[in-house]
Symmetry: C2
Subunit: 315 residues, 2 copies
Amino acid sequence: MTRMGNRPVPVGARRDVRRRVRITTSMCGGSAAIYAQFGDWTWAAVSELCGVDVYSARTPGGAPAYLSFYHYEVRGDETITPRGLTFGDVVDLTSQCFDLGSESVLTLHRVARAGTDPGGPLTAREYLEDPRPGCLYVLNLNRWITRDRPDSNENLLVSSPVGFAHQHLPRPPASWPVRAAARQARNQGGFVPDPVPGYVPAAPPFEFGYDLDPVRDFNGVGLVYFAAYFAIADTALAALWRSLGRTNRQFLHRRVLGQRIAYFGNADTDARLTITVRLLRHEKEAGDEIADIAIREAGTGRLLAVTAVDLREPE
Amino acid sequence: MTRMGNRPVPVGARRDVRRRVRITTSMCGGSAAIYAQFGDWTWAAVSELCGVDVYSARTPGGAPAYLSFYHYEVRGDETITPRGLTFGDVVDLTSQCFDLGSESVLTLHRVARAGTDPGGPLTAREYLEDPRPGCLYVLNLNRWITRDRPDSNENLLVSSPVGFAHQHLPRPPASWPVRAAARQARNQGGFVPDPVPGYVPAAPPFEFGYDLDPVRDFNGVGLVYFAAYFAIADTALAALWRSLGRTNRQFLHRRVLGQRIAYFGNADTDARLTITVRLLRHEKEAGDEIADIAIREAGTGRLLAVTAVDLREPE
């Protein structure tokens, strides 16, 4: 699954990454685990396609460079969803990186149940205009960052590591508005416009206080782990569900067709967060709901992340 | 890392499993992730050494058989600890299964930083009498179980799947008291005797209420995930630390030399737990502490798990 040393694959030696993967227990234990796994696949793809071992990348000054997650989206269909993958499942993975310059990189994954992958190169056009049935797509926009002070997560500087090759990668089409979408989400404090045609509020606006959890929310280098934001948002969503009289069992069986998340900031170990959830339901389709969630630092109101979840009636 | 199909490795074709592993971000995001990973290694070892694909095992009646965790212990030394493994680290893994009959199996892993593995077969004697410096050992006692009702986790029956081969495995020595230790821990409600020579209480007995978390605590088949028990116990321990005026940052940097956990029951999605923590400190060595933790279902008092954590001064 992962490269073992510091010898990068020669740049341009491969067009993309293809791999068969067995979903293990750790990849689906808890609701953030599968997103953590997808993130590992992004680090693996960049390591294999961009000439730099992401796990040991350094800035020219010698500081560790960390390939942080800035925008993350997952899109399944009625037959394959992120929460629908369970241990024992075998999938075929295709990964492609796209050139965004020296400070960031765009990675697209296509995940299909073993033997059903449509084959062929994975292009921006396929994702934007012609997604294949039975395929789950994961898109990650990552930026290289480094800490400005070793003991704080509040200011993280953009950087570029030694050896990071990108000019050989396909360019994303100008019409691919990933960065613009994240910027707009930041300005609006959410992904979802207000109102959304065809949807009505399913609950009054919901606010939830959350203390960052030193047990679960931090990664091996003391940053709030990108996958933990999924769990943090889900914690607020679960609380809203309970306030509507829905059960934990229903929450466990929720079906997530897709999710977008944009990351704007990290936080320190003692931070308290304020999470707001706007839950919308389709006027006609029971179980078709959208949750638009903003995660802020309490007190300062600093926006840390926004996420939108597309929910469907459980199977 | 994992086998891709349903064709088991021929029984007896390998003496043990050896593999070089890069620790990825998902393996150390949050405090339970590394224990989840070790558990995956156990399922992989049993799949490779015991003639049955653990991920698709079935009872003779055709019901899914689940290789549950009954006793789990991790033991590092001053140079390698479970929380000391971080992303980018490369380790050499050796795994050996031992014969406990048709309904359970004992699996031992040796983890050493790449290039430092002492080599040679991994024996019970090495683990019990002669652990190698620079090696982390993980021991898992697993039992095959199946649900008696598809909608409840309260009664889980012992079972044995079709094709599970064990008689070719080395027998553990009679002096290896894993099952007896778990039984005794169950009877006593903890692993640690009272008193422990050389240790004194570091805090009054601590009780903590915990609602099972539908976001984080359940695995892909709706059982409380074995690795989540580590996080659940840590949640109570972190609360106790805070009650002693210690910071979340100190908790994040805690050093865990070893941990034992025994699993006695599962629980349903709405269960509330009562967690008791007895924290002891060494009379002379600052930072040398033992936490003895019991996890019970609130109301009934049913014992779900006990765990003991060996803590050391942070590096």
